[in-house]
Amino acid sequence: MTFVEDRAVISGVGQSQIGRRIGRTGIDLALEAAERAVAHAGLTFDDIDGVASYPGPVAAEAGFVGATTHDVRDAFGIRTTWHVSGVETSGQIGTLLDAAAAVASGRATHVLCFRSVWEATAQAAGRAAALTTKMSRASGHSEFRMPFGAASPANWIGMYAQRYMHEFGLTREQIGKLVINSRTNAARNPNAIYRDPMTMEDYLNARMVSWPFGLFDCDVPADGATAIIVSRREATAGLAKPPISIEAAGAALYERHTWDQRSDLTTMASHDCTAAMWETTRFTPGDVDFATLYDGFSYLTTQWIEAFGFAEHGKVGQFLDDEENYRLDGRLPINPHGGQLSAGRLHGYGFLHEACVQLWREAGDRQIAKDLELAAVGVGGGPEAGCMLVRLAD
């Protein structure tokens, strides 16, 4: 635990209504999530003096930027001593890690951190149309992909998955077991988008998107917002919840920020940030009770499993063969809420939300039965990655 993590804690969380094409704006959803998180912590908006969000006002597909930091500050008249947003950061939780540093260093006391999306509603007219009309020429990192028909992260990440499968023999069936496990968990989550059971036949026969990814390897665009309150530890006395400690965090990126030049195509930035994180904590992978691991595409979760050290490099297929490793009542339950694959693309924040809800034992029908103390949270894919260990001790 470093200087920052010793002082910064999570004091409350909240989520808005979540669904497909629910017809509400991203700002509306962000405000609802914020209200719920502030109340959950036992705070009022008068206590909030910091606001942080991802990604901020960037050009993107419709609904990707549900609300900016200023949208929420201004709507509630929040008097901030510190605020930030950013997209050039360590995964979608990067600015939340900045918020931890802000409260630790005294720039703020209680920071409202949020991520809001309304992609399902905003893109009802069709994703392909959104892609091909958003800019006339491909620029920035898109410059070297779009001209070759490599339009989607399904293509870029699909190539990583293909190379890993080639190197280590990972199969679609093994990945499918993880996808099906998330769907099984989602059946217990009333807020999940997809809750009907899925069979291996369903998984394998789904429409192919970009081999090896079929439809069920890709997460589902959703409408919804998540808010998380990061507080200075000494300011949480007497609040509604026992604070969740940020035991350790990782934000490292050791290679260029590209989708095609990483030296080892069977690893990702997830491996950099977890390596840096483990250097700052007395805990080890064997101490982790459960994990919430990014699954914008199914393969990304397998990368996080290896990056955190829950399976040896090259051996995630064998890890997945034994469901006892990761099912809800197993040794290391993974994505008890159903992940983004089944519970919707709340884009990173949903994983930290679920980790906190489980630690506070507020997860209802999907509550992990065993005692819980330490959760691993991995967020992002490709060159985007940030991770945390969060802990609730007796």
Partner: protein, 137 residues
């Protein structure tokens, strides 16, 4: 027309002009560090390995192997009717020097890691796109 025939063309920058226009002369031009001889892609005016600013485009062989691929089945662009193969091609000049590209004139079922390929330029408007096709090993 910037968005020619249902595809998205690249925005040509001072850094990338050599890469996108070399094909008009039949040349695949890749940035190379003049100090340590490291090849660099995407093109930028510094060497990420030795940090020299003495970087200039040089002509690469245009030959490489498939490092990874995906068979795309979704119709993202009218000019790319599915299925088609998006690949990372590792150029023979240097391990890890890769282009994201699209394979053309290829038997989709025969694509595999390590497959030898060579560049074939597709001229669109003001750019020559470096696609790759299979060659005999």
């Amino acid at each position: 027309m910037a968005q020619a025939e249902g595809r998205m063309l690249p925005e040509v920058t001072p850094d990338s002009r050599a890469f996108w226009t070399g094909g008009f002369d039949g040349e695949l031009r890749i940035n190379r560090c003049q100090a340590c001889r490291q090849w660099i892609h995407p093109p930028v005016g510094a060497c990420w390995k030795c940090r020299s600013r003495d970087v200039a485009p040089e002509v690469a062989s245009g030959r490489g192997t498939v490092a990874a691929y995906t068979i795309n089945h979704h119709p993202w662009f009218p000019a790319f009717p599915p299925p088609y193969v998006v690949a990372l091609v590792e150029l023979e000049e240097q391990p890890g020097l890769r282009l994201t590209t699209c394979l053309v004139d290829v038997d989709i079922d025969a694509v595999e890691v390590g497959m030898p390929v060579e560049v074939v330029f597709d001229i669109q408007d003001d750019v020559a796109l470096p696609f790759f096709k299979a060659v005999a090993a």
